[in-house]
Amino acid sequence: MKEESTFTLRNAVQFGLITGFIILYISLVGMVVAFNERYIIAETITLGQIVVFLPLLILGYFSANRAKDKQGIWGLLMSLLLGVVAGALIAALVYVGTHINLRTVFINAAPELFEVLSFGRQSMGSVALTLILGGGFLAVLGGTFTLLPSWLRRALVVALSSVVLIGILQELLSITFGSRDWFKPVNEFFFEQKGLSWTGSIVILVIAALWNISRHLSRTRSSGKKKNATSRNIRAVRIASWVVGGVLLMLVPRFLGSYPSEILTIVGIYIIMGMGLNIVVGFAGLLDLGYVAFFAIGAYTMGILTTVGKLATVEWSFWLALPVAVLLALLAGVILGIPVLKMRGDYLAIVTLGFGEIIRIVVLSDWLKPKIGGAQGILQIPKATIGGYEFKGPEQVYYLVLFGIILVSFVAWRLRDARLGRAWKAMREDEDVAEAMGINLVNTKLLAFATGAAFAGLSGALFAAKLGSIFPHSFNLIVSINVLSLIIVGGIGSLPGVVAGAFILVGMPELLREFADYRMLMYGALLVAMMLVKPEGFLPEATHVRELREEEEEIILEPTAAEAP
């Protein structure tokens, strides 16, 4: 037996088995086949193959890193062993899968899967050899990253991920810019029919790596200089960048056209919700899992008040119904808030979840069907108009949503450091202490619920006006979980985090239809992984980091986005 801190052969085999099982999992879940359609580099490598390689690279890196105290070559040997074990496991799956029909149990164990995993080899022997050697090779490749200096490692990781990202985005780019004149030569340079061209990928790789290295250099060089800039200068730059950013945001639909605008509006609707939940969960520390209820209330209020279809009531205009929707949601926030005032932590989460489910079940039932349409929902909700301008398509609704985002983020931003915001944070840290400091817990909590609910109501109203029809199954628990995931990924309590989280978690799956099936799977994995590795999120809020990291020593984290590429 060696000492505990060293990485023994047994550990390497263990890691290899873990890697192998991760790959088996990814294969049997169907990701490999689903992603195999998308070529990253034309005729060479597909996203499905990358999904198989990634665990090998990452875990190969980790095991070499763990074994590093034992001279470089030892770590690489460990990686090799890991890769070989994992490769053998995949080979075993291919063997079993081609001889026995696994499909009666695992629906994704189809012949296509084994075809992909065989990497073009025919006989079982050569398949096994390829997998074992390939596994070893990739794991060693991951391991060699430990030998590189950290700036080079980071640059390489960034460069490789940019290649993959741009490869993934090919379709979107050609949909968006396909009709522009300048796009054609660019497209021909970078892309083939499917996937990046070799020249294109090398150019991207080099540019991304150089950019990263130059940033690294300039950061190390200028770390002392920055203080010299006067505050007025900083201010001028900030205002200028705000103005430029604003103008760009206004022009976005013009540039991008309808499909990306559609995605942006969806992302925007989630940003508004995220801003609201961020107040409840992030600022006030009240975990609300029934948040979708307020979204539903906003949407249904808008629907009922404005619809001209079968369920028509008053047939108000959008602008008249909007404040009513927001107010009703706010009111609902207060009403649902009162009973849970004395509840803390996990009980609160479950109760709010119960509220959300009750509302969904009631809306779906026949009981209220004459009023709100039951499972058929509410149809024929007119679009918003202002003057003669109709917000009919995504390119127009975009402005509506953008306006909502600006409003909501302004409110959230001003509240954050206001008396109320500080009261919320104090309450999040410790309720009893906050109360002892003279904070009125009842009012503070209710205001958090009310503000959050009002945001969700606004978001729901916009959602109804955007779609023109609403159905109860748009308002299930998954929406709450999506919103929760996005604020957690972005960083609990952080406003830019909400925006970033919404773009990553809502925007990406909308862009990539293959991902759509695995969206919730990845969210789940992401929630767990974030909590384990980086509980403060990618764009954290300063105080929250301190709170979460209080007792831990600083851990230097490696760029791992878990299994999700």
Binding site: Y25, L28, V29, G30, T104, V105, F106, I107, N108, G285, L287, L289, I338, P339, V340, L341, K342, M343, R344, G345, D346, Y347, A349, I350, V351, L353, G354, F355, E357, I358, I361, V362, L364, S365, D366, W367, K369, V442, I481, L484, S485, I488, D517, Y518, M520, L521, Y523, G524, A525, L526, L527, V528, M530, M531, L532, P535, E547, L548, E551
Partner: protein, 353 residues
């Protein structure tokens, strides 16, 4: 006089009373309406109750998993419903194989035991893995962190099942020997319901004995009482926690098979609602309290089975059975609001942060 009243009870207390009173009035009114209308006969009510007991005992078995874990770690294992799903869903494929080969027709008890073993082992494995991967590293983290992890794990598992086994609803094969009814002191009881009730009683008694009488059970109680002190007494706390998760998982697996006998259908998302209901049951009986979870489960099962026809029908609500789940959730909300310590009282209430 009035002033003193207001000093003693703050506004939220009064608001809660009002809500509670209003609900009580509605429930009583609905029940009176239904009973005076005389729409259902005595036999129907009895069937409702037996069915309620059967599903309640399934809830109780799942609830024990929540209670055991909460008792030790003070965390809600939100993914417990998915531990339950994992067992039944995997056992489904065994059930089909057994039924197609004709084995289950000849030896139905043996084949049930095989299914039970499969479900128990799979659920147990999932529960232990969950603890090892997702919960153990977070044992000293702020309270919201493990809860969020558990929610993530729950969704991850649900969609894992969907992607592995398919999204369709699968129907468990019938057991021919268990169709029809038994005559039990003059009342007819569906055989499946009878088996479910009896086997869950056996399991619950077994668990109670395990927790109260065996050494491992004693260690479990000691860890629940005080982790540090237990560690000082030479108890391997990590091991006890793994044991607890395994035990909860095993009960969930068994509950899964009983659930499949009652409702026949399984799918990837089936565990979520029973999971929440079982949590309700656990809270109802006082979370952390083993007999409480059993009682809570039975109580919830009966309320859920009687509620729609007894109360909602009387209130003149159309198709009340659609609101069955809403009743359970309402119970959950009400219990947590009005009596978070549960019926039997929460043994650990003072530690609840």
């Amino acid at each position: 006089m009035l002033q003193r009243f207001f000093r003693k009870y703050d506004k939220t207390d009064i608001a809660m009373w009002l809500i509670g009173a209003a609900l009580a009035v509605i429930v009583v009114y609905g029940a009176v309406q239904t009973l005076s209308a005389g729409k259902y006969s005595g036999a129907v009510w009895r069937d409702f109750i037996v069915f309620g007991l059967a599903q309640g005992s399934v809830y109780a078995l799942i609830a024990l998993g929540y209670t055991l874990v909460y008792g030790i770690l003070f965390m809600i294992n939100f993914a417990h419903g998915e531990v339950f799903t994992g067992g039944v869903f995997t056992a489904y494929f065994v059930a089909i194989a057994l039924s197609e080969s004709g084995f289950s027709d000849e030896h139905w008890i043996l084949s049930l035991l095989i299914l039970l073993t499969v479900a128990v082992v799979v659920s147990m494995a999932i529960a232990v893995l969950l603890e090892r991967i997702a919960y153990r590293p977070l044992r000293n983290a702020p309270r919201l962190v493990p809860l969020i992890t558990a929610i993530g794990a729950s969704f991850f598992l649900q969609y894992t099942y969907r992607s592995l086994y398919g999204s369709g609803v699968k129907t468990y094969p019938d057991i021919t020997q268990l169709t029809g009814t038994w005559n039990f002191f003059g009342t007819k009881i569906l055989k499946t319901q009878g088996v479910v009730i009896v086997s869950s009683v056996i399991l619950m008694v077994g668990l109670y004995i395990y927790v109260q009488r065996t050494k491992a059970g004693k260690a479990m109680r000691a860890v629940a009482e005080d982790k540090e002190a237990a560690a000082l007494m030479g108890i391997d706390v990590d091991r006890v926690i793994v044991n607890t998760f395994a035990l909860g998982g095993a009960l969930a697996g068994a509950a899964g098979i009983l659930y499949a006998m009652l409702f026949k259908q399984v799918n990837a998302f089936m565990g979520f609602i029973p999971g929440i209901k079982a949590f309700t049951a656990a809270v109802l009986g006082g979370i952390g309290n083993v007999p409480g979870a059993m009682l809570g489960g039975l109580f919830l099962g009966i309320v859920e089975s009687l509620g729609p026809s007894l109360v909602l029908d009387g209130l003149g609500i159309r198709s009340p059975y659609q609101l069955k789940d809403a009743i359970a959730f309402l119970m959950l909300v009400l219990v947590l609001i009005f009596r978070p310590t549960g019926i039997l009282g929460e043994r650990l209430s003072e530690k609840k942060a």
